[in-house]
Amino acid sequence: MNATVAQLTARSLLGRRRAYLLMALPAVLLVLSVASRGLAGQDAGITVGVLGGFALATLVPLLGVIAGTGAIGPEIDDGSIVYLLSKPLSRYSIATTKAMVAIAVVTGFAALPTFVAGLILSGTSSRLALGYAIGALAAGIAYGTLFLLLAVMTRHAVVVGVLYALIWEALIGSFVPGAQALSIQQWSLALTEQVVGARAEELDVSSAVGLGAAVPLLLVVIVGSTWFAGWRLRSLRLTSDE
């Protein structure tokens, strides 16, 4: 963990245009929550729909892609990563630091707003807000590190990431039961299910994966992606301008 690397990463990640996008997404969630609460009052079913179907299924993966790829993608793309790599710094340290910055961004722009949205929609009833916030946090961290790795491996990380988030998670996940075992969304939903506890089944907060499988899988993805990203950075090739 290196403070200077973190500072430089944070500054380029929260550059103007990306920052607007990062702020706009949770803003939409909050507006939607307020509108739903206004329209339908406090309703656990709607809360599950908004938090599970919108926040966890769409918002968190998108923010994970933006934060994860944005933490290293542009620097590799325009070659300014050379300034980090031509130093006596362990590549694993660089990867871990960047992952932490991405995680911080995802926490602030995805997990926290999910919690607030949950409070707006249902207050503290059934621990839905907390449950989904924790699920969003876990999913956000997993997506962030995974897409960081993807950004080190390919220049088309964003498109691949979006394909994963939309096609794999949303479409195939709904149609092919086996695929759900390999879905970050399902793993984090297991955490949510655990926190919501008693009323989970009644509210249809259920994951295709048990907690015993979800937690190790999440850890494997998070730690593995970060480590592998550091490993790939050791042999990164500098390219000339396109």
């Binding site: 729909g49 919108f54 769409t58 998108l62 933006i66 542009p74 964003v158 096609i167």
Partner: protein, 295 residues
């Protein structure tokens, strides 16, 4: 080089030749730009790598249509297993990804590498550039949706389903596809033109489209549950797909796959007006953006 004065040799001028003849005008340039951009949206005329994503998406979007057509042709059915006019709604994820992936390919590269001066030092006006790019993207997205619809239509013909039922529906769906293409291209190109960074452009377009679709779905579900029919109807304005679907239903007379179409005549008018505003607004935004581009 001067020839020696003594003998009668000749030295021919093999240097640069100046062209003084007639030149093709603005319209030709714009048309060429349109064609090249439209082909480029499918990777034709570009590297093999840039063909992968669009061709993959094209194949993916045609696959269900192909299956439907085969099923219809082979088995004995009274009507197609799926609806022309709601096909686009069902595959909207793929269309979204296509727009997100290819809008930057059309527009961001020119801005990122600052070659706009090469375009505008020819008799090409900025409005020509915008029109050409907008038309090219619309054509590409339209083809993406028209191809599967046509496959289904061919399947219907092979299954000898009654033509007078199939043709109007098919034509309506094509009209809807065209409108969808216009709306989506507008949104995609505006976002891509603002963020010359390709990765960010893709993410931003997907974010906008997916979020709009998600919000629309949520609002509609909530409104239906609360028996707020008008709200449910107007919720369709939020997402471009449902917006056009609403116009298709209200104006072109297609069936509606949503639980609530645009409420009444006022609703229809609103839907049409909003569609027009989005298209005009996108075009205007693009013009503004390119007016500011430094040459």
């Amino acid at each position: 080089m001067p020839a020696p004065r003594t003998n009668q040799g000749v030295i021919h001028d093999l240097g640069y030749r100046h062209y003084d003849g007639p030149r093709l005008g603005r319209a030709h340039i714009a048309r060429a730009l349109l064609l090249e951009s439209a082909k480029g949206a499918y990777g034709l005329g570009r590297s093999a790598r840039s063909k992968v994503m669009p061709m993959l998406l094209l194949a993916a979007i045609c696959l269900p249509a192909f299956i439907i057509a085969v099923v219809a042709a082979v088995t004995d059915v009274d009507e197609l297993p799926a609806d022309y006019t709601s096909y686009v709604l069902n595959v909207q994820a793929l269309v979204m990804i296509y727009v997100a992936a290819q809008s930057p390919a059309l527009v961001s590269r020119d801005l990122r590498f600052r070659v706009m001066s090469l375009y505008f030092s020819r008799p090409l006006h900025r409005i020509d550039y915008v029109v050409a790019k907008y038309a090219a993207m619309t054509t590409a997205v339209f083809l993406l949706m028209a191809l599967p619809l046509t496959i289904m239509f061919v399947g219907a013909l092979l299954a000898e389903l009654p033509i007078d039922e199939q043709v109007p529906d098919y034509l309506r769906s094509l009209g809807g596809a065209l409108l969808t293409a216009l709306v989506l291209s507008g949104i995609g190109l505006v976002i891509a033109a603002i963020t010359p960074r390709r990765g960010l452009g893709v993410a931003a377009i997907i974010a906008v489209l997916a979020v709009l679709a998600g919000v629309q779905g949520a609002m509609q579900a909530i409104a239906v549950e609360e028996n707020e029919a008008t709200v449910a109807g107007y919720a369709g304005l939020i997402s471009p797909f449902t917006l056009v679907h609403g116009v298709q239903h209200a104006v072109l007379g297609a069936g509606s796959a949503l639980s609530e179409g645009p409420p009444g005549t006022i609703g229809s008018v609103v839907f049409v007006v909003v569609t027009g505003l989005v298209v005009a607004g996108s075009f205007g935004a693009l013009l503004l953006r390119y007016r500011k581009v430094a040459v």
